[in-house]
Subunit: 164 residues, 4 copies
């Protein structure tokens, strides 16, 4: 088995730019993260443009969908901003690709003390191998179905919503 | 669903004792780790005596088995040293408890730069919720059946062995 | 000897607010930093309002000056934002207090990987004990006189300017 | 001014060997540490054999002395194990080299959470530029004269002893 990992940015991958004094994107952290996990399973990393998910447009979600569609691997983990993770999950879920696609991200950037990034990535990499085909959000140590999840922005956690 | 987490020590939980100048055990890191993960699923943490797994005796494995047997939760993650993780998995696997039990640990202690601990814990917490009942070792981003796994000590990775 | 430490905010003390998704101020990191240094010299920590130094007004600099004037200790380290460190140094320098006052800060926040905060604090704590009375900026591993320093914002480093 | 930095090992530079499961020496951390400090002053790094200072022999101390003697720089920082830092300081102090030589180290390795290494290095780099010629131990946020210092091993701190 091989895992496809698609990096799209989000808080997980934010980097502190010391000249501008703000969090932005530079090199993707995923190559370092993958080394650090000591994964022996092959991982194919695909780096899409790194975006704050609040800045994502329809075309960006279509590009993610196209990557998922083109992927040869049956298990895909997508690193994504939390603010519109649900919207991307809905685009992917509606496409019904017959692959296991797991979106995850982080509340605190990988490079900041106390980050949840590495835990979330581990969690997503695990359930991507064990869940049936479908689209899922994996955050806060839980698996959510793509059509029954929302981010509670005031609390900073994901929660289940009743399906339609 | 509630997750049971059983801490037994191992490299994951080693602490640097600055007076003695060596790695040993002090307070268990799991309470901090759990907070950091931002898990919203309830987690019941049970801390057994923290041991280097090379120092584990039969009685120690029987105590872990007793904890698994007594647990009300159907999903259990055990933090364990890597050197005899296989031996404990065999004790638990032979008991056939009808629960999902996942052993994990770390090659580098949680408190040392570049540690795989948080990734491994996330991975294990994910697959513990999604795998059928059984006993598994979750290391190196892979799930191993309890009776088909060994640690390759020279390479520092877990690998599959043919079942008997 | 006792060292006075005055925290005023700046990049050194920025904290990532995971709900708002931005760097801001919360609890001052200095109590933790002081424990971590294992300093055996007594340190009196005074925490002024934590500010981005670009937001500092004249009144804020006067408050820092008042703290320096009131301090019983002959050696003072001030943690300060880098963008207007020079301006505060000039206010303090012009007051000619007959104490050794050293301003320092960080280019990368203490809680972000690769931060220079702990190095800069150590450097400042050292030279505050060894320099004659006066006002200094200690950044980039160098001591600058208060009236001969500026921040090169494009390069992100402090440099000497010819005195007037 | 240029600073000479001599790495000799010690706790500061210990690395966790994940195959052997113990702290040992691998590549010296100082090149990374120097980059991280954003020092603009030139630093010449000389890496001697990295040793636990309990393993240092007379020949090792003579080699450190020879490096100090040969150094063109008037200010030298030596990274050294804490257990025999005093002994090396005495060898260097007796040689009366007319340079400012500052020994420092760490109680917790650089790569372990909560390390004092970066603070100590900053402190030493500061006082090496500001103290008169002589040999000093810089630990716990204090400067000690080479002939009036000892490590209190039970408490894990350096302290002043009366001179002879």
């Amino acid at each position: 088995m091989t895992l496809r990992l698609i990096a799209t940015g989000g808080t997980f991958d934010k980097h502190y730019d010391e000249i501008r004094g703000e969090l932005t994107f530079a090199d993707c952290h995923l190559p370092e993260v993958i080394r650090r996990t000591r994964m022996t399973m092959p991982v194919n990393l695909e780096t899409l443009p790194l975006l704050d998910s609040l800045d994502m447009q329809d075309a960006d979600r279509q590009r993610i969908l196209a990557s998922c569609r083109a992927a040869a691997e049956p298990a895909i983990v997508i690193i994504h901003g939390t603010d519109t993770m649900r919207e991307t999950a809905q685009v992917l879920g509606a496409a019904a690709l017959n692959k296991t696609i797991v979106l995850t991200g982080a509340m605190v950037p990988y490079e900041i003390a106390g980050s949840d990034a590495l835990f979330n990535f581990g969690f997503a990499a695990g359930v991507a191998q064990t869940l049936p085909a479908g689209v899922y959000v994996a955050m806060n140590g839980q698996v959510f179905a793509w059509d029954r999840v929302r981010k509670n922005r005031a609390a900073g956690v994901f929660e289940t919503v009743s399906g339609s």
